[in-house]
């Protein structure tokens, strides 16, 4: 593990220009996350959790300050470079799963591979990853709306993992699941962390945050505890 942080936020500010006036969602946030950390981000709603996740997920760029991911300055990248970075080094796991409704479970997992290699997967990797998260292979031709929440989240995790990302960004991954299933999903994430992934988790739930090794508290766009 190198000493260079995988993610570095230096004095990052994000301002949204609203009709009612400017809204500062992140206020001079500085933060380092090292490779293979398991970080939980907590805070009340409106504290900037989603904004920071969007920054870490390269879905958005800071208004000011520097955001370096994997050694690269996000603000200096072209749209296409950001797209490729999202595809190759970040895996997203959402509260609402966000599977592609028109694709089967298997195809949802295969999809990032197609994006990356511009061809259908013939290596069996999609099926292998799907199996590794405990998804029943008999249901791989089901569409997302035919699956339970827990199954959908497993598919979503498999989709996030299939391109071997360095970072897993989990936005309330257990928020839409019952407690038991939620813990199963957390076990999977813990396992992935042990395999070397950097896991960043946003949650309300202190029980879930306990899985992380470090908790970052946000309040009004500022880091109050790290």
């Amino acid at each position: 593990m190198s000493d260079v942080p995988l993610i570095r936020l230096a004095d990052v500010t994000k301002v949204y220009h609203l009709e009612s006036g400017d809204f500062v969602a992140l206020d001079h946030v500085s933060l380092d996350i090292m490779e293979n950390e398991f970080v939980a981000i907590m805070g009340p709603s409106g504290s900037g959790k989603s904004t920071i996740m969007n920054q870490l997920g390269i879905l958005d760029v800071p208004t000011s300050g520097e955001l370096l991911i994997n050694g690269k300055n996000v603000a200096g990248m072209t749209n296409l470079e950001r797209t490729h970075m999202r595809r190759d080094i970040i895996g997203y796991i959402f509260q609402k799963f966000y599977l592609i409704p028109l694709l089967s479970a298997y195809e949802n997992v295969e999809y990032p591979l197609i994006l990356k290699y511009k061809k259908r997967d013939t290596t069996g990797k999609a099926a292998a990853v799907l199996k590794s998260v405990g998804f029943d292979s008999q249901m791989s031709s089901h569409r997302p709306n035919q699956l339970s929440g827990g199954q959908q989240q497993r598919v979503a995790i498999a989709r996030a993992l299939v391109n071997d990302p360095k970072i897993l960004l989990c936005d309330e991954p257990t928020g839409n699941l019952d407690r038991k299933t939620g813990f199963q999903i957390m076990d999977i994430l813990t396992g992935l962390h042990k395999e070397g992934k950097t896991v960043i988790l946003v949650t309300h739930d202190p029980k879930i945050a306990e899985y992380a090794h470090r908790t970052i508290q946000l309040e009004d766009g500022r880091v109050v505890e790290s």
Binding site: G57, N79, L80, L99, L102, L103, R120, R159
Partner: protein, 397 residues
């Protein structure tokens, strides 16, 4: 390679099957309108051209000296096209039919009714090359004649009626011809042979009674191919009018070209009317594509956030427009054949030209235009989808 974005588009079309089909129907109508209007115009042009060129494929040659005519029995020496000129014309006319024509005006009597009209002397073998016999037969005997339909009905002539030719004069016995056949109406012709009020007699009978042996008032050259009119005229002119102007050469092809260009304008006009329906179809495709984009905002957000390139999202929606276009154009193409055929047969009454390349080409034209219209209508929706902010899009319900 099977493109997953194409798969996604197919699935989206299938998911919204009814809506997609309804939008495609617009394209079907547009394709049918363009194709059948185009085919209608072309068939009209071809058919009118054919009707006209039965007249205008004729080169008319007359002596450059105005000639005077005589009445029966009293021939006068007059200028006309002589035998050697005729041979020169035959030699330079190539494979085309050369028809020497004797003609004058005469009085005649049928029963006790007197009349006046043209009398035309033709080689019986030449008659069927440009005239149609409606009743009876062609001239067989030396004193057989054919009569035009107007003369026949005005004088109540039948096959076998006898006509006395020449001015009624007690001192001489007028020659008589027997009606062997009645010609079909020709109306106003542009080959200079107006037969509706004429009596056609064999050339031998004509020269026996009017003289003018080997001296013709007019020679017509009937072209096998209308496109060779200029070169044939030039060949005849070079040969016959080498030293001095012996003959005058004229034709009615300029009339054909002006009518053709008028019909071309009409075709363009009806095509333009047909394209209005494609504009309407374009709007409905645009509408459906916008609905598809707006309904799939969250899905677009997912695609963009997990690393789909903008170009790939654009492609997905353009495929969708393309699929609608292909469905519309395919069905439209088939319908065009059926409807186009019916329209052409109902409005022109002649489908002989329907399957000619010039006509049938409008089906693929219409289909291609239909597909292009779909893709163009899909451009903005696809652009809009690909330029969504993934964060905003994900938040949409």
């Amino acid at each position: 390679m099977k493109d997953i974005f194409f798969d996604l588009s197919v699935r989206s079309v299938r998911l919204n099957f009814l809506r997609s089909i309804l939008a495609s129907i617009g394209i079907v109508i547009g394709v049918v309108a363009i194709s059948s209007m185009g085919m209608l115009g072309t068939n009209m042009q071809l058919s009118v051209k054919q009707q006209l060129s039965s007249n205008v494929n004729t080169i008319m040659i007359s002596s450059d000296v105005v000639r005077t005519t005589s009445t029966a029995g009293t021939p006068t020496t007059s200028q006309g096209i002589d035998k050697s000129t005729l041979n020169d014309i035959r030699n330079s006319a190539g494979q085309n039919d050369v028809i020497p024509i004797h003609r004058t005006n005469t009085q005649f009597t049928i029963g006790s009714t007197d009349g006046r009209g043209s009398i035309i002397g033709l080689d019986p073998n030449d008659i069927t090359k440009f005239l149609t016999i409606d009743q009876g037969t062609n001239i067989k005997g030396g004193s057989d004649a054919l009569v035009g339909p107007n003369i026949a009905s005005n004088f109540n002539m039948n096959i076998g009626s006898r006509i006395k030719i020449g001015q009624d004069n007690v001192s001489i016995t007028r020659p008589t011809v027997r009606v062997a056949g009645i010609l079909a109406a020709r109306g106003f012709t542009s080959d200079g042979v107006n037969t509706d009020n004429a009596i056609i007699v064999p050339d031998t009978w004509y020269t026996d009674h009017y003289g003018d042996k080997d001296l013709y008032g007019q020679v017509n050259v009937i072209l096998k191919n209308i496109d060779t009119i200029n070169q044939t005229e030039a060949a005849i002119n070079d040969k016959v009018n080498r030293k001095t102007d012996v003959i005058r050469i004229s034709d009615a092809s300029s009339r054909l070209s002006s009518i053709s260009s008028t019909l071309g304008t009409i075709t363009t006009f009806i095509l333009a009317i047909g394209s209005i329906s494609l504009v309407v179809a374009a709007v409905s495709i645009f509408n459906v594509m916008m609905m598809s984009v707006n309904e799939r905002v969250q899905e677009i957000g997912i695609l963009l956030s997990i690393g789909t390139e903008k170009g790939e999202v654009r492609r997905m929606f353009l495929y969708e427009a393309f699929i609608l276009g292909i469905i519309g154009a395919g069905v439209g193409g088939i319908c065009s054949l059926v409807i186009g055929y019916s329209v052409v047969s109902a409005m022109i009454g002649n489908t002989a030209y329907f399957f000619l390349p010039e006509s049938i080409i409008y089906v693929p034209y219409g289909m291609i235009i239909g597909v292009i219209v779909c893709i163009v209508s899909g451009l903005y929706p696809a652009w809009r989808a690909s330029n969504m902010d993934p964060i905003e899009a994900l938040r949409a319900e």
